[in-house]
């Protein structure tokens, strides 16, 4: 990779990380802790919603986030010609 390509690759990586961590923080610190009491007023499938996020929803979101990252980075690696064979 040329230095320009390296810089471009790295910037893309950082932007993915920023977005994924923003979701990570909002579902855990946001929905499950700071706003949990407010969300609890809504009831979903027998669960107060804040409680559901805290005990299940956040974990499921984390799973989605890590697999999304794997897919995004594999695509990025291919695009820049650094995908490992």
């Amino acid at each position: 990779m040329t230095p320009e390509q390296q810089a471009s690759y790295w910037r893309r990586n950082l932007s993915y990380i920023a977005v994924l961590l923003a979701v990570w923080a909002s579902v855990s610190y946001g929905a499950s802790i700071l706003f949990a009491d407010a969300l609890d007023r809504v009831n979903v499938l027998g669960f107060p919603l804040g409680f559901w996020f805290a005990t299940q929803g956040s974990i499921l979101t984390f799973l989605v986030l890590v697999f999304v990252y794997v897919k995004l980075m594999n695509d990025l690696d291919r695009k820049f010609g650094v995908y490992e064979r």
């Binding site: 990570w24 499950s32 805290a54 980075m73 490992e84």
Partner: protein, 580 residues
């Protein structure tokens, strides 16, 4: 066959299986011993990492904590899963690109200093021993209850077993043994949970059953009506005892945020987890391995709150208000371990539970709820035995991973690189095994004198990792300007601050241990987040005040960011030529 006999059979069979795998895959070289020859399939590696991750704390303690803490217990659920997102995006692929053997080695190379390497080694040892102390206590509890040994005998037996297969197999043996242990562990956790879910709410999927409505049998057991929501009934039970509602939060928000953050960040700073990403063939395998690890962990972690809800509801319902002479069988079985007890304060012969410590007559150690669950709901003895085997598998697998970090660290980072650089591969291997032996003995000692409950002790280890390794490794990867003075100062200040705070409130002045005297109302379990912020501030401040790192180091940092240079023939194997 009774519970004891079944437990002997299943536990011994599982031990034979683990030893067999360790023998079959035993390490023959240093690269085998430290990183399993870098050839582990990422899905299997994820499963092994998950098992290494899920210790006695996850298996036994966590559901117990959620049971007694209500929604605030989710700090542990989120803390111990959310960290994998951090690992996957912030650490795993870059450290795999670096590709050597241990975390202190990375710190030493990145910060161009053997002093930094040794400081990192001491941090790793402090973290790992704290963590392993909790495991050995877990092992002692299980063996004491189910095999009738004393807790002391149980701890010693556990230490011997761990030593044998960690020492024989090294990382390779541990990895494949952990795959087997996952199967035992998850079966031991899910089967009772599924039974209980079906019995109480008719759903075979515990996370859904948690939100479900009571069956006739469940309603009878809990003294409620059929068709009521289980969570509503549990909330009512909590309120009746004088506790807040189960699904509400009790601690201050700041403390819950601090605990969650300390656990998440600590996850990404644990040396025995970080090295699990050195064992896969490619950088992209490191990312997917982190993802797969979370899948296998999530299976247990989404079930845990359900187990907590079931256990809390049924343990209270079968005990509160009962005549002591008529105590349920599970209660009497566990009284012998002294982890469950009754003290007739009001002299009426009935067991009353209360949120008010002065009136409460019944104590149930949260660490035993998961193990007691199948007995509370009268499941067959082989299920009880399977749970015991699962708990043991969880504790031993983690203890093995920790011992390996300690052994590898001392042998590789201290003895070989600092003391005897001309040591041969074989001598290093022998040295690592000797260190593992001493570490196992010391771990057993800690198991006999534990500083607290399993999950609490483990949480302290996380706080130490969050305030020492995480900031220094993260800065090492993402900030070229981080210097060796900054790293050393950050590790020392972070870990001393956190360890000091914990020691003050838990050992020196436990009488002051409460929200009134805590810094900003943050508990010792959460203080690691503050330690982390302190360490970040120190590494930034001190780095900017000292000379920039040499150019080779800045190039090393840059090269960590790309899976391979486009002109190379392949990935990390090409990198290996450059870095070694």
């Amino acid at each position: 066959m009774g519970v004891s006999a079944w437990t002997w059979v299943i536990v011994v069979a599982s031990f034979v299986l683990y030893m067999g795998i360790a023998l079959y895959t035993r390490a023959k070289s240093a690269v085998d011993y430290y990183v399993a020859d870098r050839r582990v399939n990422p899905v299997l590696n994820g499963m092994a990492t998950g098992t290494d991750w899920m210790s006695a704390a996850s298996f036994m303690s966590m559901a117990g904590l959620v049971a007694v803490m209500g929604r605030d217990g989710s700090a542990y659920l989120m803390g111990w899963t959310g960290g994998y997102v951090l690992l996957a995006v912030l650490l795993a692929p870059y450290l795999r690109k670096y590709g050597k053997y241990t975390v202190p080695q990375f710190v030493g190379d990145r910060y161009y200093s053997s002093a930094a390497r040794v400081v990192a080694l001491f941090c790793a040892i402090a973290i790992s021993f704290t963590y392993v102390a909790g495991q050995m206590r877990g092992v002692g509890i299980v063996l004491a209850r189910f095999l009738g040994t004393s807790i002391e005998q149980g701890v010693v037996v556990g230490a011997v077993i761990v030593f044998l297969y960690a020492v024989l197999g090294g990382m390779k043996g541990i990895t494949y043994t952990q795959v087997a242990q996952y199967v035992v562990l998850i079966a031991g956790y899910l089967i009772p949970a599924i039974f209980m879910s079906m019995m109480l709410t008719g759903s075979a999927v515990p996370p859904l059953g948690m939100g479900g409505t009571l069956t006739r049998e469940g309603a009878a057991l809990l003294g409620a009506e059929r068709g009521q929501h289980l969570l509503e009934v549990l909330n009512r039970i909590s309120l009746d005892l004088g506790f807040p509602a189960f699904t509400a939060g009790w601690k201050t928000r700041l403390d819950v945020v601090a605990i969650t953050a300390a656990l998440m960040v600590g996850t990404a700073g644990l040396p025995h987890i970080i090295i699990r990403f050195f064992t896969v063939p490619k950088i992209r395998d490191a990312r997917s391995s982190a993802a797969w690890a979370l899948v296998f962990i999530a299976v247990l972690y989404t079930t845990a709150p359900a187990v907590a809800v079931f256990a809390r509801a049924t343990s209270v319902a079968t005990v509160h208000g009962r005549l002591a002479a008529d105590a349920p069988e599970w209660f009497r079985n566990w009284e012998g371990t002294k982890l469950v007890g009754f003290q007739d304060r009001d002299g009426d012969g009935r067991m009353r539970m209360s949120a008010d410590p002065a009136r409460n007559e019944v104590t149930i150690d949260p660490d035993v709820l998961v193990l007691a669950n199948p007995e509370i709901t009268r499941l067959p003895p082989w299920v009880v035995a399977l749970v015991a085997a699962g708990a043991l598998g969880a504790a031993l697998s983690t203890a093995a991973g920790l011992l390996l970090v300690i052994a590898a660290g001392v042998a590789h980072d201290l003895v070989k690189s600092v003391l005897f650089p001309r040591m041969t591969d074989k001598a290093e291997l022998l040295g690592a095994r000797i260190v593992a032996l001493s570490a196992a003995a010391l771990a057993a000692w800690f198991g006999l004198h534990p500083p607290g409950r399993v999950a609490e002790v483990v949480a302290y280890a996380f706080g130490l990792a969050a305030s020492s390794f995480f900031p220094v490794i993260l800065a090492g990867i993402f900030w070229k300007r981080a210097t060796k003075e900054g790293a050393i100062a950050a590790m020392i200040s972070g870990i001393l601050f956190t360890a000091g705070y914990i020691a003050f409130f838990k050992i020196l002045r436990p009488d002051l241990d409460g929200p009134r005297h805590w810094l900003l109302g943050i508990s010792p379990e959460g203080i690691g987040s503050v330690g982390m912020l302190l360490a970040f501030a120190v590494i930034v401040g001190v780095s900017l005040a000292t000379a920039a790192p040499p150019r080779e180091v800045q190039e090393l940092v840059a090269s960590l960011r790309y899976p391979r240079e486009a002109h190379d023939a392949g990935g990390p194997s090409a990198g290996r030529r450059t870095f070694r």
